[in-house]
């Protein structure tokens, strides 16, 4: 069914990698929201959302990124996004997310940006 959403968590070099797959809509966004909440309240502020397997996102999914990013950045961390497929990227793009979020090609590049302490985008 085109409603399944999946989230797998790994850690690397002090960053939490959340690999998203499937459909992130108003039905599945709460699951993603809880995952970010758990990380943040557990003191993990360096997060990477690996979107390679993400087939679909609606505004409810985008909202999860929006509502956490300020607090995470204030705590010295960031949510970096990587490996977004074109049909999902067009949604981020039309709303202007690339100006606010750090979006890179691959996990390795996201990790590198945390390592090099690349300036976090600011709102």
């Amino acid at each position: 069914m085109a409603n399944a959403f999946n989230l797998t968590r790994t850690e690397q070099d002090g960053a939490v990698i959340l690999a998203l797959s499937g459909y992130l809509d108003a039905h599945t966004a709460p699951q993603f929201e809880r995952a970010i909440e758990v990380e943040f309240s557990g003191g993990h502020t360096k997060m990477i959302a690996d979107c390679a397997g993400l087939d679909y996102i609606s505004s409810a999914g985008l909202g999860v990124f929006m509502s956490f990013i300020e607090d995470i950045r204030a705590a010295g961390g960031d949510i970096k996004l990587c490996a977004i497929v074109p049909q999902v990227y067009q949604v981020f793009d039309v709303l202007g997310f690339p100006e606010i979020f750090d979006i890179v090609d691959a996990q390795a590049a996201a990790l590198e940006r945390f390592r090099s302490g690349a300036a976090t985008k600011e709102v």
Binding site: A2, N3, Y23, Y56, S59, M66, F68, V123
Partner: protein, 144 residues
């Protein structure tokens, strides 16, 4: 080309958004949209129906119905989303850009923006005591 009419009605639950997207995607395919256009059409209708479930009906409610009518001819696809819940005035939706929403730590406020950026025409009509209807039109661009 004659016009073709499709109708889907499902209980008001976000669990049914996938079914709505699949329905709309098929209507879009039949109308001749390419994959990219089909995905955008389904996204706009997902946003409209998510709003109905969340705002018009105030959350999942198996006793309320979300009604989606899709039709097309050679020129355009028309999708109507109908509910019998609380109506609203789209003119009152504050226009905020993503920067502002992020500063306010808001998780919402992008649905209408997406709908308007995807569809060529958007009309909302309240028929008090009867129904609310959001009518969205997307033109079919030949060879686009």
């Amino acid at each position: 080309m004659p016009s073709f009419d499709f109708l889907l009605q499902v209980p008001s639950s976000t669990d049914n958004l996938a079914m709505i997207r699949d329905f709309v995607a098929k209507v879009g395919e039949k109308a001749g949209f390419d994959e990219k256009e089909v995905t955008k059409l389904a996204l706009a209708v997902d946003e409209a129906c998510s709003n109905v479930i969340e705002h018009a009906y105030g959350g999942n409610n198996a006793n309320k119905e979300v009604r989606v009518r899709g039709s097309f001819d050679a020129e355009q696809v028309v999708v109507e989303v109908v509910d019998t819940g609380r109506g609203f005035d789209p003119g009152q939706i504050p226009v905020k850009d993503v920067e502002q929403l992020v500063r306010e730590r808001r998780s919402g406020g992008l649905g209408w923006r997406l709908i308007r950026s995807i569809m060529d025409e958007v009309q909302y009509q309240m028929v008090p005591g009867e129904k609310n209807e959001l009518r969205m039109v997307k033109k079919i661009r030949k060879g686009a």
